[in-house]
Symmetry: C2
DNA sequence: GCAAAAGTGTTAACTGTACACCCATGA
DNA sequence: TCATGGGTGTACAGTTAACACTTTTGC
């Protein structure tokens, strides 16, 4: 059995576990959990979207991944389940954004047509609880799930249109990401365990949407001591290799205890 | 007809208007809106709670005001309705905190007993969307409503216990109030239109839970130009009368446009 | 004239910001 | 040796933080 076969077997194994776990449970038809999943490719912030088969038009339509919740399931768990189905990842940064529940949020024509193909009660009012998640783009390959045949990364700044009220949810997540970055070192969730200061710097610029002076950025990071220099550098790059760093959680916790809260630029 | 009679007639008039507006609508049995309503008495932050008649015990039990939403009603509107029923106020600062939906959030013994007396389906799972509101304590007298016979102000720092998961919601609101105060001049919603700098100063201290130097506080307020000195001072106080000020929205908007966002101390 | 809260300035430490050049590597 | 991005220091401006006394009023 080769490695690829093994992956397949493991995948099926977990699928069966999920089926066992979920058998005999009732869906709550009035409440869903949708996830805004952010990733970073060292250039731009990306968002994980599901591609919806266009019912009549030719151009593809996109939506945030989400699913109805089970009636005995708490909200955070439902969001974690969506995330796990699409990414295979657990233990990921995941926080609630809020509830979105306009009575007519599902009423757009294209949305209704699509709902009729996937839900047993397309007319019932659904309130969604939105989450935002931060993941390291390189740590997995998006995979299809029962609510999504195709899963794709889209650059955050190029998304102009989404199904339902998902654009509103996305904008809310974008704002939250930006304001939170000044309050706590949330950005490290978007990077691999070891990273270069240039990658971290670009991440801050991408989220803030503005240039930050390289020397000032590095000085502040050094002063805060929330990154730790590793004895390891890039290899095979056609320029001076960059040193790797990792996030130092203990030093961050110390800062918080002291009441420090300005992580912005 | 005297003033007190007139108030009564007006109250009944609006009650009838509400009944007409709500007749023929269906309640959504699975979703409620709860409000954390903060007020400030120039000394402490207060929270508006409803008093629940204890079913078996003698000590009174308190809960956040809230109600099931109507099926054709959006979430913000439902929260506004709760606020209006209790306070008579509209156009109040009101923002969503998030959804709270543990499957067992209604399962505490005392809560179940109480629910059986007021709801037709006490066993159904209810997810609540929590809001926080900021009001000027002096601008109204709390009044009973269809979901609350007694309404009382309680000092925020003395609340140790609430029905359901309301203590969790309250703590979330408390945190939100505190962190938001550094980002925007949210505190003015807790004061009357004209106020003294000492009142504003005490408000900041009450929310931040720490002392702030009087001179530094006043200097920063003066520099920001978000308060405007009025030609009016306290009268009849047994000490130097304090000048009144009002909030200057235009100057605040100017600051925001310039990208300024540090309103903290 | 006394009690009570209002109102006011200065200094030192720190933080943020602007800015330009040398370094290590692969090709 | 050249192209590429990595890495560093200094000076000035603005902000924060600590601190004590005089003023105005009612009684």
């Amino acid at each position: 059995m080769n490695v690829s076969n093994l992956h397949y077997v493991i995948f099926i194994f977990f699928l069966i576990l999920d089926m066992i776990e979920q058998s005999g449970r009732n869906l709550n038809k009035g409440i869903s959990a949708d996830c805004v999943i952010f990733g970073f490719d060292f250039e731009k912030i990306q968002v994980l979207l599901i591609e919806r088969n266009p019912v009549h038009s030719q151009k593809p339509e996109y939506a945030l991944p989400g699913d109805l919740i089970y009636d005995d399931e708490n909200l955070d768990h439902a969001a974690g389940r969506v995330l796990k189905e699409l990414t295979g990842l657990t233990d990921i940064f995941l926080e609630q954004l809020g509830a979105f529940g306009d009575p007519n949020r599902l009423d757009k024509d294209a949305d209704q047509k699509w709902l009729k193909t996937v839900r047993s009660n397309p007319d019932v009012r659904v309130i969604t609880v939105a989450y935002f998640a931060l993941v390291n783009l390189r740590s997995f390959n998006p995979r299809p799930s029962h609510f999504a045949r195709n899963v794709v990364w889209k650059p955050l700044n190029e998304i102009r249109e989404l199904a339902f009220d998902h654009l509103e949810i996305l904008n809310s997540a974008k704002k939250r990401l930006k304001t939170n970055l000044d309050l706590r070192p949330i950005g490290f969730n978007l990077l691999p365990e070891k990273f270069t200061l240039t990658q971290l710097h670009k991440l801050y610029e991408a989220i803030q949407g503005k240039e930050i002076d390289k020397r000032n950025f590095r000085r502040k990071m050094a002063k805060l001591k929330i990154v730790e220099r590793l004895n390891d550098k890039q290899r095979g790059v056609p320029h001076k290799p960059s040193n790797y760093y990792c996030f130092n959680l203990e030093n961050y916790n110390k800062l918080v205890e002291e009441g420090f809260n300005n992580f912005g630029f």
